[in-house]
Symmetry: C2
């Protein structure tokens, strides 16, 4: 059998009991003859503890590069602990294993500390030979080493990215991301009990789902998998080792034979709508407005402008995250005297609901079906935004669950 990379997140290694369970899963697969590299996160809560210590020691006075290299030294210790613990737990089960830290496997990173990007690891570190020889490599996720020999970390959620990068470098058959759900669902099962686990989902769909709030996989890890054609599987770390645990395969579109037009319905309540009334109707106003937003770090999502011709003034609506909305309001108020607009309204009682599917590329009528389904429930659409494989609408947040259920049914996603 070939090489596989497994990854276990913080909740999967949260305490010794959970680590023992993970060791059982890994031991079961090792005994079946797979050559295994296992990437682990820090114990749930440990990273927060370390971040808070580092911030407490540094204080407000230390910022940016002055801070990040030592911050990384402190925070990377969390994954060092779990890699050692899992190696011990595997040996206890009679499985040959050893831990690999970022500097030992020479996991090169660039672009500074705190949110470094992986360049891949050094094949001469001996890791590949070790796993081919039957020794499980337990890799401390989330960490690497800079050209200067300093510890670096990849930023939050970086262990998914570590796993995909290792899988790419090892030409692994599979990169299995064990997590606290058993796969990727057509929608949130808390809202739609008939939601189905997807057998396969394309990278593009997964990227849209991840960026829209279905936080199963980190966006960067999916991009890296897509660029390196690594097949990623999302599956449950709570299942028993011998259980059937198929999960969801995230792969390229070509590997998916039966393409659904729509594969998922996602929603996000973390939205705010900004309405500008009486905007001056002349060139350059929008550019000025969104350059102000960009400089303040406000990420603008949907934009709609409806011009009432001949009146010289128009209304504009845009959305940003709830968290950014106060900042957006403050900047707009600050620049009000530039005469860009007459009045301003910011509301957070909105939600974004989206349907996603690669099948849209070759099918028409998706928007029609979507709007009819919402209309049939008397749900008003505020703003619409589309991409090649996604249609998103902004609606009153009170209707979120109703809209998600209606769309799930309208696109035949309910489990039979």
């Amino acid at each position: 059998m070939g090489r596989s990379v497994l990854k276990f997140g913080g909740t999967s290694v949260a305490d010794l009991d959970r680590i023992a369970h993970v060791a059982d899963i890994v031991a079961h697969r090792a005994r079946s003859g797979e050559a295994l590299a296992v990437v682990v996160s820090a114990m749930a809560g440990d990273t927060n503890r370390l971040v808070s210590l580092a911030r407490g020691a540094a204080g407000d006075a230390v910022k940016g590069d002055q801070f990040d290299d030592e911050y990384d030294v402190v925070v990377a210790s969390g994954e060092q602990v779990t890699s050692g613990l899992l190696a011990l737990a595997l040996r206890r089960r009679g499985i040959a294993a050893r831990s690999w830290l970022g500097w030992q496997m020479r996991m090169h990173t660039r672009e500074g500390h705190g949110a470094a990007r992986i360049d891949g690891f050094d094949q001469e570190s001996g890791l590949a030979d070790a796993i081919d020889g039957g020794e499980v490599a337990v890799i401390a996720g989330f960490q690497g080493v800079t050209d200067e020999g300093r510890v670096s970390t990849l930023g939050r959620g970086g262990s998914d990215t570590t796993a995909v990068a290792v899988a790419a470098a090892l030409s692994a058959d599979l990169c299995d991301i064990y997590t606290d759900v058993d796969g990727v669902y057509t929608t949130d099962p808390r809202i739609v009990p008939q939601a189905r686990r997807l057998t396969k989902v394309s990278y593009e769909e997964m990227l849209e789902m991840a960026s829209l709030g279905a936080k199963v996989l980190q966006t960067r890890s999916v991009e890296l998998a897509m660029n390196n054609k690594v097949s990623v599987r999302v599956l449950s770390s709570f299942a028993a080792p011998e259980d059937d645990n198929p999960g969801t395969l995230v792969c390229s579109e070509e590997e998916i034979v039966e393409k659904q037009i729509v594969n998922g319905v996602t929603y996000s309540r973390d939205e705010a709508k900004v309405t500008l009334y009486g905007m001056e109707d002349k060139p350059g106003i929008s550019a000025r407005l969104f350059s102000l937003m960009a400089r303040a770090g406000v990420n603008v999502d949907m934009i709609v402008q409806a011009n009432a011709r001949g009146q010289g003034r128009a209304n504009m609506v845009f959305t940003c995250t709830s968290a950014d909305s106060d900042k957006a309001r403050a900047i707009l108020e600050h620049h009000r005297d530039e005469g860009l607009f007459e009045n301003l309204d910011v509301t957070r009682d909105v939600a974004k609901v989206s349907v996603i599917g690669v099948g849209m590329k070759s099918h028409t009528g998706v928007a029609e079906t979507m709007f009819e389904a919402l209309f049939s429930k008397n749900i008003n659409i505020d703003v619409i935004s589309t991409s090649e494989i996604k249609i998103s609408v902004l609606i009153n947040a009170d209707y979120t669950e109703l809209a998600v259920r209606a769309l799930h049914t309208a696109f035949d996603l309910d489990a039979s």
Copy 2:
């Protein structure tokens, strides 16, 4: 000014407040122009937490070499955290600083994991240049790296040894061990309020004191300092940075001009006395007995044999640590049928009291003064053992404080 090595133990870096205080001390010295390497232990309690996690993961099934390398990976993370935190706290105070981990300074160790011995660090790591250039090196104590590139730890208290090894390698003027006491005392101030802080103490005396229970410095670090002629100072980490904080200098005998005959009175309650009645009086019996003890790992300390001539049988007394006494009893009972002795008695209500001083080498009458002082208080002596610079007696534990006070006065050690 020259190079200095400072070391702060676990209680000195127990939380962010204590780390801030340590940073103040280091910053104060850095500003005075010293080139500084600072060795830190893990936060008090953190090593115990990590040891307990490692043991929990490994279970009873994993022993010895099968365990120690990954144990080291887990436990060494504690010092990694404090080295990063202190570097951050120093930068906050405007002091250039960076952390150095065992693998970064190439602190080579040998003799396996868990209790490795230091071979010294690689001068080409750049550490010496860094501190000479004004950047404080914050060194993770207690850890090193093996020839195979694995993490190793030096065993408990290893950070003292790290500090002395770094001081030796850097030819530092001084190795300052900051701790929770302000120096080495003539005896335990809890028993004798008139106990005095010693200005200087020789390596040899310090070794006897350390091995007898005055746990200010780890024995191995004192040996290393003696072999490399490193001057070590023990001083308080609780004093304010600008305070006069002379501590106690541990140095070679030649540097001590005014030698006291006796410099310290120590005691240990962690003793057990084993009495064997009716031992066969023929050659080989003692050898057989102590080979049994040695093979079981029982460290025998004092031995006294009193032969009642002509009776063919004798009594023997020896001492070991309280912790070992059950093991000693079990082995002796197990071999009782060999006829080595007739009866056996193990008691733990004994204490060892010692007087220590390099002056003994050239002065007579020390034993006489000691025995008279004890006799004047009606304290019975069970066993006596002597070395070149030490006389120890075993007494009934009830008399421990009385004996210590009597000896402290008899040898003129009371502060005036």
